[in-house]
């Protein structure tokens, strides 16, 4: 580095996230060796990923190490970039639904709902109450699914291999329920503009309730494995501390913000899909470390179970009611009518070939399992979007890795990556 700096102190720009970060003082610059100090060797640049199992997808992290200390951390993303936003522009509004599944692929129905709600806001399309209730049920099941993935993968990275099988067997049960309802285990694409593709059968609802009844006991099992576990505690407590102010600066939302101690949940603050009618609590952390983020997510699963049970109660009350809007500008007519009515056939043809949304712009934010998931949609009044921007919470979570990791031990990296919780499909889009 430059000659003017006194020996032993060299300024290194922490370029990890922005390059615009505050300059930090480290003892040596990368590549420099202090030959008099036997404890300091040369800086090492280490590539973690893109095929590292603990990076939860194709994330690459360039780490500059001084011994075991991370001096500089820079996430490199884009390995899973498939150009979803461009695809949306060329496919049109309706056909993009299948692509939303592949964004955060551990919770496809949550993405479906978020996209549908943005389009409904743009078009001013009302959703019948039963459709909203089914959505709430599916969104909460998705949240549990995503949190189970978080719990399983993070704990296997930190050595608790059994947890992985515990959480994945529970996840498999949710898959079976979704299979019974939608006909697919993953990538369901069951949400439509104006409501749902199909109603939920009473038998399926019964099965969901059966699963919900036994799930809290499973959460107790998870907690018995981890919450009081000395290794889990030591590897997560006081690691990767995020304050509320930092969360706001770095656009972090969702469980990461709540773990820092701020009660901010869009389901409570800016409710959608009738969340204001459900009785649930918002768990918050105290200091915002990896352990708090774990605790918040575990408690969120319990609250999701409560919401699911209330949603099932509401579904029982509204049995037989409409679950999709009958606005024929945007919603396909029932197949039986298409074969018998000329008008419905024309509607079907128009919707499939060139369904246009009104000119204008809209943004709808939902509380996804990772944070604020939103779709910013701009229409020029034609059948193809002018712009569809996906506000992915995972991108912000990846961005925060250097903030938490720089200056800490390399072994903390795995806890930090795991606890921030992101899925590369959503980060790279």
């Amino acid at each position: 580095m430059s000659q003017s700096t006194p020996p032993g102190t060299t300024r290194v720009q922490g370029t990890g996230a922005t390059g615009a970060r505050t300059t930090r003082t480290f003892e040596y610059a990368p590549g420099e060796v202090d030959r008099d100090d036997p404890l300091h060797g040369e800086f090492m640049e280490l590539n973690m990923g893109p095929q590292h199992p603990a990076t939860h997808g194709v994330l690459r992290i360039k780490v500059v190490l001084d011994g075991e200390n991370m001096v500089e951390v820079e996430p490199v993303i884009g390995y899973l970039h498939r150009g979803k936003e461009k695809t949306c522009e060329s496919l049109g509004w309706r056909k993009f639904f299948v692509h939303t599944d592949r964004l955060d692929y551990v919770q496809p129905l949550m993405n479906n709902c978020a996209y549908a709600m943005a389009l409904e806001k743009l078009g001013g399309i009302p959703v019948p109450e039963r459709g909203q209730t089914i959505r709430v049920l599916l969104m909460e099941l998705s949240r549990v699914m995503a949190h189970l993935i978080y719990l399983g993968t993070t704990s296997i990275d930190l050595g608790a291999v059994t947890m992985f099988f515990f959480t994945f067997s529970e996840r498999e049960r949710i898959y079976t329920l979704l299979d019974a309802y939608t006909g697919h285990r993953m990538n369901n694409t069951y949400v439509r503009i104006g409501g749902m593709y199909a109603d939920i059968e009473p038998e399926v609802a019964r099965e969901v309730r059966k699963w919900l009844d036994q799930f809290p006991a499973k959460i107790d099992e998870f907690e018995a494995m981890l919450t009081g576990n000395r290794i889990w505690f030591d590897r997560n407590r006081n690691i990767g501390i995020l304050t509320v102010d930092q969360c706001k600066e770095w656009s972090l939302t969702g469980p990461n913000l709540r773990a820092a101690g701020m009660e901010w949940d869009l389901r409570k603050k800016q409710p959608y899909s009738g969340y204001e009618h459900y009785d649930f609590e918002v768990p918050i952390g105290t200091i915002g470390d990896c352990y708090d983020r774990y605790a918040v997510r575990v408690e969120e699963m319990r609250q999701s179970v409560r919401i699911c049970q209330q949603a099932l109660d509401r579904l029982e009350k509204t049995r037989g009611a409409e679950f999709i809007s009958d606005d024929r500008r945007y919603v396909l007519p029932p197949k039986g009518l298409v074969h018998s009515s000329m008008e419905e056939l024309i509607h079907q043809f128009k919707i499939v070939t060139d369904m246009a949304l009104p000119k204008g712009e809209a943004y709808h934010a939902t509380e996804s399992s990772k944070g604020e998931l939103g779709f910013f949609v701009a229409s020029d009044g034609t059948s193809h979007p002018l712009r569809c921007h996906i506000r992915a919470p995972g991108l912000m979570n990846v961005q925060a890795i250097p903030v938490l990791a720089e200056g800490r031990l390399f072994s903390d990296m795995v806890s930090i990556i795991g606890s921030l919780d992101f899925v590369m499909g959503e980060v790279d889009r």
């Binding site: 150009g83 600066e249 943004y363 604020e372 961005q399």
Partner: protein, 181 residues
């Protein structure tokens, strides 16, 4: 509902008093979110006022819209969230297609760094003052801006970078040097 209209009115009032003398034009959006169009030179002044005087503490996204072949071609959009007042705002500015540039707000919200990088990557918009402005999702060395309207969906020379990389790998191969020796 009446209360929604009331809240939006209060937000607009708060923003208007925060912006004070800075020229801004109010826009009506389909989702009812208070939205303003400002001049590109005013970005820093407006964002500072929004953060410090109107209480918008979180940046939600930074993105752009390409209105090719209209001029000015690009609309840059910022969205902010106030966790204290529980409301949102969007700010727009329009910049020309020739050397599109706008000031960075990473000085105010460091968390906009990735959003701005993505916007640069996809549209080629220069965020002046951003110290780490480089490609985020596309590989380094890529020459095009994929989300521009004149970029075809099939891509332009999608395998060029791979071919170059493959050629370099072949050049470095020890088998090659042995055969040449």
């Amino acid at each position: 509902m009446n209360t929604v209209g009331l809240t939006v009115g209060l937000t607009a009032e708060r923003i208007a008093s925060a912006l004070g003398g800075i020229a801004h034009e109010s826009m009506t959006m389909r989702d009812g979110c208070p939205s303003y169009r400002i001049a590109p030179e005013q970005v820093i002044a407006v964002m500072t006022a929004l953060r410090d005087r109107a209480g918008f503490d979180t940046n939600v996204f930074v993105t752009a819209i390409d209105r090719f072949p209209e001029e000015p071609r690009f609309t840059v959009a910022w969205a902010f969230l106030s966790t204290t007042h529980n409301d949102r705002v969007r700010v727009y500015t329009r910049i020309p297609g020739e050397n599109p540039a706008v000031a960075t707000i990473t000085g105010l919200w460091p968390g906009t760094a990735y959003s701005e990088r993505e916007c640069f990557d996809m549209f080629g918009i220069d965020f002046v003052g951003h110290t780490g402005l480089k490609r985020l999702l596309m590989p380094d060395g890529y020459d095009h801006f994929p989300l521009r309207k004149d970029f075809p969906h099939q891509g332009i020379e999608p395998d060029r970078l791979y071919r170059e990389w493959d050629q370099r790998r072949r050049d470095r191969s020890p088998l090659r040097s042995e055969s040449q020796a």
